[in-house]
Symmetry: C5
Subunit: 95 residues, 5 copies
C-alpha cells in the first residue's frame, strides 16, 4: 500500500458498465514525511474518503478485493483512511 492524499475527482459517464456507481478520486502519493512524491493516480473509493484526506490505497489485482471493485477493471482502490502514522518516535501525521 502507499500513502496518498485525495486531491480531486474524475467524472466519466461513458465507461465500462461494471464501473457504474464507482467514485474515481485523484490521489497524490505522499512520502514518509507527508510530502508529495510528484506521482498522481486515480483510485476507486471503497471507504468514503473525502477531499484532502490522507488514505492508503492498494494497487494491482489487490485493488479488486473490495465489495465495490470485485471483478471490475480497477487497478487502484482506497481501502483505508489514515488516522495517524509514526516514523520511529515521531508522529508525522494525525488526522
Amino acid at each position: 500500500m502507499n500513502l496518498a492524499r485525495v486531491v480531486g475527482t474524475v467524472v466519466a459517464t461513458r465507461k465500462e458498465a461494471s464501473m457504474t456507481g464507482s467514485t474515481f478520486l485523484v490521489l497524490e502519493r505522499l512520502n514518509q514525511e507527508m510530502k508529495s512524491t510528484g506521482e498522481f493516480l486515480v483510485g476507486v473509493d471503497a471507504v468514503g474518503a473525502g477531499e484532502d484526506e490522507v488514505v492508503l490505497y492498494a494497487g494491482g489485482s489487490s485493488a479488486r478485493q473490495t465489495a465495490v471493485t470485485r471483478d471490475r477493471p480497477a487497478d487502484a482502490v482506497i481501502m483505508a483512511i489514515v488516522d495517524s502514522f509514526t516514523i520511529g518516535d515521531k508522529t508525522v501525521f494525525r488526522r
Copy 2:
C-alpha cells in the same frame, strides 16, 4: 487508473488469435495538470474512445476485467472516457 490521451493507433494483423477484433490505441499518460508525463503505452479500447480523447486506463490483471479483454493477453484497457476532472476547486479539464 491513470489519465491519458489517445494519440494514435497500432495495426497488427499477426497476433494471438484471441486478440482478433481488438483495437490497439496508443496512449500518452497525462499528469494532474493535463501535461504529458512522457510515458506512452498501448491499450485495448473497451469504451469506443477516439483520437484525442482523455481517458482512464487500468493496467495489470485488472485490464482483463472487461468484455473485450477477458482471458486475453492484454495488460492495459481503456475503461472510461473522462468528461471532466477537478483538482481542489479547479476544473482542470472539461470535455
Copy 3:
C-alpha cells in the same frame, strides 16, 4: 521480494472491513549495501516484525498468499524477518 527496514506504523480505523486486525507497517526499502533506496511503502505484517527489523516483503497478488492477507486488498506483505544476508563473501547484515 525486496529488503526493507520497518520504520513506522500506520493507524487507520476506517478501512475495508476485511482489513480489521491487520497491522500496517511503514517500510523503507534497502539496497544490497543496507542503504535506503529512498522508497517507502506500507505493508501488512504476517510474521510479527517489529520496529527497526530488516525484513523481506512480497508485492502484488503474491502479497495475498498468507493467512492474514488472503482475499484482502493488500498489495505488500512482510513474509520473512531477515537473520543475515551476504553479497559474495561479505556478510552485509547480521541480526
Copy 4:
C-alpha cells in the same frame, strides 16, 4: 502493452520444466517515435516474431493468457507483430 523491437535471443537449457520449447527473445522497448527507451527485457514468443521485428508485448499475469505461456512462469509475452502505427496524422512505422 508496449512497443518493442526484437534484438536478441536467450538460450537456457536448465529451466523450469514447463518452459521447455519456449523461445526467449530480448526486447528493446520503443517509444512513440520508434526510439529506444533504454529498457530491455526478455519475452516469450507467442506469434513467431523474428529478429528486428517491431512487436507488442504484454506483461504481468496477462503474459500467461496465450497457448504457449498458460500456467507457466512467464511475465512477458510477444502477442502481436506490428504492421504499422500512427501518431496523430503521421505514420511513424510501416513494416
Copy 5:
C-alpha cells in the same frame, strides 16, 4: 523476464510457514550488455542456481507458477539458468 546475476543469499528463519525450504537469492539485474542496472531484488530459486550464475527471473503472479513457489508469497522466481545470449550478431554472454 529479466536477466540477472546471482550475487548473494538471504537467511531468514522466521518466515511465513509456506516458505520453509525456499532458497532466497539476491539478484543484480543486468542489461543487454551484461552490465548492472543498479537494481537488486531477492528471488526464490526454482532451478538450482549458484552464486555468480546468470539467470532469468520472472516477477509478479508469474513467479508463483513453479513447483517451489505455488500458492506462496513469492513475487520473483529464478526460472532459468542462461547458457548464452546474443544481441544481433554478437554473443554477449556464454556460460
